[in-house]
Amino acid sequence: MSTLILTPNIPNGDDFYEKLLNAHEGLSKEQSDALNARLILVLSNHIGDMDILEQALEAAKTAGQTS
């Protein structure tokens, strides 16, 4: 089974983060939500591996839990 990468993997994280925020620049909440959704779909398709996608869903879910 392939394993989701959860260690730093983007060469220049700060650059990426800035681009991510820039993409949302000037958007309404609704437009931002739509952009995020499209981004998730585009990336998920690129990954295209159900094992990885499931691990990603899991990682995203647990990190958001308070306890």
């Binding site: 939500d33 739509a34 959704a37 499209r38 998730i40 779909l41 585009v42 398709n45």
Partner: protein
């Protein structure tokens, strides 16, 4: 115009049972003469069983309900002897268009695989489907009377006596009672039989209303399926336009939850809506307008002793994906041969438990698919709408998102891989599509198609090899079909049944599902597969 749904097709007559001094006893009584009840009666009759069909009405389905009939249903109809009528009358289409807001986001061509006698599906009004079933019943009866359809015979009580059931039947001439060894309840989603027996029917209601209108118009809309998400003429909702024979078009308009159903059905509300959708200059006439709330649910078990449920009475789905009548016909396909074999003493009673196992599996698959489509079409939370719209927006630009657009998935035949009646797969290199449990794929032969060569019983099919002529196995006639496939002749047959193997032997059930396959004939293993398929080996 005298519409076929206004003319009695099986008018009431007084049967001798009504004046008999003691309740008449029948082997099989089918309750309900919808597509499933009629199909069941025909299939049982073709297996040699006499059937009484009781229906509280005397006409075909009122107005139009089902319109899409899938390839597997057409193949079953071929076996039942009325497939040509369906295909001759039905409309075939390949092109679908998806609209979002004011834009066409993409179109698709179904491009069905070649080498099948029947198309991926046809559009046809349910009342034609039922009419052809009734005509087929008459044709069978003109040879030997086997099916007794009693119109205006409503089952008003059912009493289970263990080995038989007593039915109280209400007619224009009053009540009478009959006894039946077997009762098949095909009395629809509202099944009175189910209620009278106090049985469950649980699942999910989609809190939404749909206006379903069948309109006759002389417009030259192409023969395509058009689906709109959030169109200007039905903001925030969905819409569908689909062609049927006789210049009739099916229009579905999602209305939302809080609507006044009676008011929405009135022509003064419906006509302006349709004008907005079709354009003011298009002339149309309303054939039928109804409002539905859709549900996905099923009974926990379909078999209750000698009373067995089939079709909508056992399971109900929302129509996106056209799985109601299509799955009901698969119930018929599955149950008829089993019940006939049990009645004829050729298989143990427990064979019928496999109907529960196989068709509950089918129902769950259909419920899953219909639920997914309904969730896409009518998103029930803000975030599901956000994702739905994201998929639609992406689909306009990128191919990857198009398979995620779900306005109803084509109904594919259910398979029974891994279920109890399925035997061994001993064909190295054999294709997955014809592995044991799968419905036998069709394939072109020299002058006919494969499925038309499978009779109503078990078949042993050999490819590039032969088997000794079989007499009977377990008291059952086994038909034999000897075929060959090379790279020059019957190539498609080879692709679908040999894969990389050089020769193969297949055992096929009466409902055309594959029981087992081998690379060569082996008497003991064939014997065992027949026993497995008859439920004699658990």
């Amino acid at each position: 115009m005298n519409k076929i749904f206004e003319t009695p097709l099986y008018p009431y007559y007084q049967s001798v049972d009504q004046t008999a001094s003691a309740p008449a006893h029948h082997s099989v009584v089918v309750i309900g003469a919808g597509p499933v009840g009629l199909g069941m009666a025909i299939d049982l009759a073709q297996h040699g069983i006499d059937v009484v069909v009781l229906d509280d009405n005397d006409k075909v389905s009122f107005g139009s309900r089902a319109i899409c009939f899938a390839k597997r249903t057409l193949e079953i109809a071929d076996r039942l002897g009325f497939g040509d009528k369906l295909v001759d009358k039905g409309v075939q289409w390949n092109l679908g268009k998806v609209f979002f807001d004011e834009r066409k986001v993409y179109e698709f061509n179904l491009l069905a695989e070649d080498g099948h006698a029947r198309p991926a599906f046809i559009n046809l009004q349910q009342y034609y489907f039922e009419q052809y079933l009734v005509e087929r019943v008459q044709e069978i009866n003109s040879e030997t009377p086997k099916i007794d359809i009693r119109g205006k015979n409503r089952v008003s009580a059912i009493m289970d006596h263990g080995t038989y059931s007593a039915l109280t039947v209400t007619t224009p001439d009053g009540e009478y009672t009959i006894h039946a060894d077997w009762v098949i309840a095909c009395d629809g989603a509202g099944s009175p039989t189910r209620s009278m027996m106090g049985l469950d029917f649980v699942g999910r209601v989609f809190e939404d209303n749909f206006l379903i209108a069948d309109v006759t118009m002389e417009a030259d809309f192409p023969t395509e399926r058009w689906f709109w998400f959030d169109p200007p003429f039905n903001r925030g909702q969905s819409a569908l336009l689909h062609k049927q024979p006789d210049g009739v078009w099916r229009i579905d308009l999602q209305l939302g939850w809080d609507v006044d159903k009676e008011a929405e059905k009135q022509p003064d509300r419906v006509i302006p809506r349709l004008n907005e959708m079709l354009g003011d200059d298009v002339k149309f006439e309303l054939e039928w307008v109804s409002i539905y709330t859709f549900q996905c649910r099923r009974m926990e078990k379909f078999r209750h002793g000698n009373v067995i449920f089939a079709g909508d009475s056992a399971h109900q789905v929302s129509p996106f994906g056209a799985r109601g009548a299509n799955s009901g016909l698969q119930d018929v396909d599955n149950l008829s041969w089993k019940l006939a074999h049990v009645i004829q003493g050729l298989a143990p009673d427990t064979l019928l438990d496999s109907y529960d196992d196989e068709r509950i599996h089918g129902a769950d698959e259909n419920i899953m698919n219909s639920t997914r489509s309904t969730d896409f079409i009518t998103p029930k939370s803000d975030i599901s709408r956000v994702f739905r719209n994201a998929v639609l927006d992406l689909s306009e630009h990128h191919a990857f998102a198009r398979p995620l657009v779900n306005s109803g998935r084509l109904s594919m035949p259910c398979n029974y891989v891994g279920h109890s009646l399925t035997g061994e797969d001993a064909l190295t290199g054999g294709p997955a599509r014809s592995q044991p449990g799968m419905p036998c794929p069709d394939a072109p032969l020299d002058n006919r198609y494969l499925l038309s060569k499978l009779g109503g019983g078990f078949t042993l099919m050999t490819l590039n090899t032969d088997a000794p002529s079989l007499q009977q196995i377990e008291g059952i006639e086994i038909a034999q079909l000897e075929l060959s496939a090379t790279s020059d002749s019957n190539k498609t047959l080879g692709e679908r049944f040999l894969g990389t193997a050089e020769r193969a032997v297949y055992l096929i059930r009466p409902d055309q599902h594959i029981v087992a396959r081998w690379s060569e004939y082996d008497a003991a293993r064939v014997q065992m597969a027949v026993e497995t398929a008859l439920g004699k080996i658990q």
